[in-house]
């Protein structure tokens, strides 16, 4: 069956003067529409590489990356990237930061501007629209970063450890916010992380990678969506079961 997003037998080798480093080996995975998939693996297993491949910023050495059955590299505008740090531009106001992508694509239409304003409104950032990033808290900045991505109406959100730079409590809150926003806006999302609990609490499916060169090792379907926010999901009795199962899978990774 044709999947929304599909990686089919993807290899990726990084070349540098000192040699070549295989980062990914024969990675095959799929993501369904409106699904939230977490890719979990030890540091340096090529998680970020997978996102760069999906976003078309890198070309696979071999294999295919398909979106709706077509090569994903040709459909760059379907992806929205969210990074570890918010990467807001300090010289732009919140509103200007949010509109960055529209400026870049030359799509500052009335409709898009209204959408951006609606998002700012909806996620309690309207009052801060004329402030500069330095005046906002870490969690708010990460929310702005997500809105900056959403304004472009991407088909798929790519989240590259978007909470790891935040302190523990903020991380839980932002995790809830982001999870809520993604489900409200009905977005497909791929999250890469090394944080097991984060993956389980947010995703519909967790894909475990091996150490470098990364390849898919196991897959877990998480059925906690009835529980509500990531915070609630963490308290669900089933959470621990998933946690242990995936933990074991990661442990055997080390050997």
């Amino acid at each position: 069956m044709k999947q929304f997003l599909e990686l089919d037998g993807v290899d990726l080798i990084y070349h540098s003067a000192s040699g070549e480093t295989p980062a990914l080996k024969n990675v095959s995975l799929y993501v369904k529409k409106k699904e939230f998939v977490a890719v979990l693996g030890p540091s340096g297993c090529g998680k970020t590489t997978i996102l760069s491949l999906i976003a078309g910023l890198l070309k696979p050495t071999c294999g295919r990356v398909l979106l709706n059955g077509q090569p994903a590299g040709e459909q760059k505008n379907h992806f929205g990237y969210m990074f570890q740090r918010d990467h807001l531009f300090s010289w732009r106001t919140i509103r200007q930061n949010v509109l960055l992508g529209l400026e870049v694509r030359g799509t500052k239409t009335k409709q898009n501007l209204e959408y951006a304003e609606a998002l700012l409104n909806k996620y309690e950032l309207w009052d801060f629209k004329d402030k500069y990033p330095s005046e906002l808290s870490g969690g708010m900045k990460q929310r702005v970063a997500l809105i900056r991505t959403l304004v472009l109406q991407p088909g798929i959100l790519l989240l590259d450890e978007p909470f790891s730079a935040l302190d523990y409590q903020t991380r839980q809150n932002v995790c809830n916010d982001v999870s809520r926003i993604i489900s409200e806006e009905q977005k497909t999302a791929v999250l890469v992380t090394h944080d097991l609990a984060e993956a389980i609490s947010m995703a519909d499916r967790v894909i475990v990678l091996t150490a470098r060169p990364g390849t898919v090792k196991a897959e877990f379907k998480i059925e906690l969506s009835g529980e509500g926010s990531p915070f609630m999901r963490r308290r669900s009795p089933k959470f621990n079961g998933y946690f242990e199962a995936i933990w074991k899978e990661l442990e055997t990774n080390d050997k």
């Binding site: 760069s52 976003a55 910023l57 760059k76 505008n77 992806f79 929205g80 990237y81 990074f83 570890q84 740090r85 990467h87 531009f89 300090s90 010289w91 960055l100 992508g101 400026e103 870049v104 694509r105 500069y132 330095s134 005046e135 472009l152 790519l158």
Partner: protein, 263 residues
């Protein structure tokens, strides 16, 4: 406002006033002792001049119409050198940022040009483009431009890779990455380059005037020392201090304005 805060503000104000008073005090004391030593013939005013003689020289220069001519020409040269070098240097840095290949090819030349004492090129420049304002500005530009290119290029290359990746993921082209990200994020570096250049441009201009000139403060210094009119040398040096200080203040004021706008 609480009483405590009022007291605190008063203390800050008092401290500031004290610093300002000490600054003025040093100047007054220096000039006073100098004048006193000159009048009591403790020092030889033929060699050290004196504040009165400097003021007299300035008045004399002013009355003969030479004061603003010399100051103006040096100021013009310094401003030209400063503006041309800063603009051209930044443009070259942008070109080198744009093309990694060009950057690699030109790297050894930049290194050699940077270590070369530019004043060594002075005589050549005078022969090539002729004695006069143009060669003085040229020497000034040469002294400033290499360091401008290197500093600006480093600032451009230090731009956060993830931010560039973010722009790319939005579909930005290289021009957009340059204008929306790399240039704005390099403004602090640009300001520090301005501050360095504003000082260095005076070095360049005075060196240039020493080598070849018929007017300007550097010319007055060379001329004054040749005919042993040290009043003229001292006067020119002080006028130079005033001009250079004024130009630096302008840049500092510009910096404050930019900072205020960017917060």
């Amino acid at each position: 406002m609480t009483n405590e805060h009022k007291k605190f503000l008063q203390m800050v104000k008092k401290k500031n006033a004290e610093v300002r008073l000490a600054q003025i005090g040093i100047l007054v004391a220096f000039v006073g002792i100098w004048e006193l030593a000159a009048r009591t013939e403790l020092i030889d005013t033929f060699i050290t001049s004196s504040p009165t003689r400097i003021v007299n020289t300035i008045v004399m220069l002013f009355e003969s119409g030479q004061l603003f001519e010399h100051m103006g020409i040096t100021l013009l040269e310094a401003c030209l050198g400063f503006v041309i070098a800063t603009m051209l240097g930044s443009i070259i840095a942008i070109v080198l940022w744009w093309s990694q290949t060009l950057r690699r090819i030109l790297d050894p030349y930049v290194v050699v040009l940077n270590s070369l004492p530019k004043i060594a090129l002075g005589p050549l420049i005078i022969i090539w483009i002729g004695a006069g304002l143009q060669s003085i500005v040229m020497i000034c530009v040469l002294i400033l431009i290499i360091i401008t290119v290197i500093s600006m290029l480093n600032a451009f290359l230090e731009c956060d890779r993830d931010k560039i990746q973010l722009m790319k993921s939005m579909g930005a082209n290289k021009w957009q990455i340059l204008t929306k990200l790399v240039l704005p994020s390099s403004i602090p570096a640009f300001i520090s380059v301005l501050k360095i250049n504003v000082g260095m441009s005076w070095v360049g201009v005075i060196i240039g005037e020493y080598l070849v000139s018929r007017a300007g403060l550097g010319y007055l210094i060379v001329y004054g020392s040749a005919v042993f009119k040290l009043d003229l040398v001292m006067t020119s040096t002080i006028l130079l201090c005033i001009l250079a200080g004024g130009m630096y203040l302008l840049v500092a004021w510009f910096e404050a304005w930019v900072k205020k706008r960017r917060k």
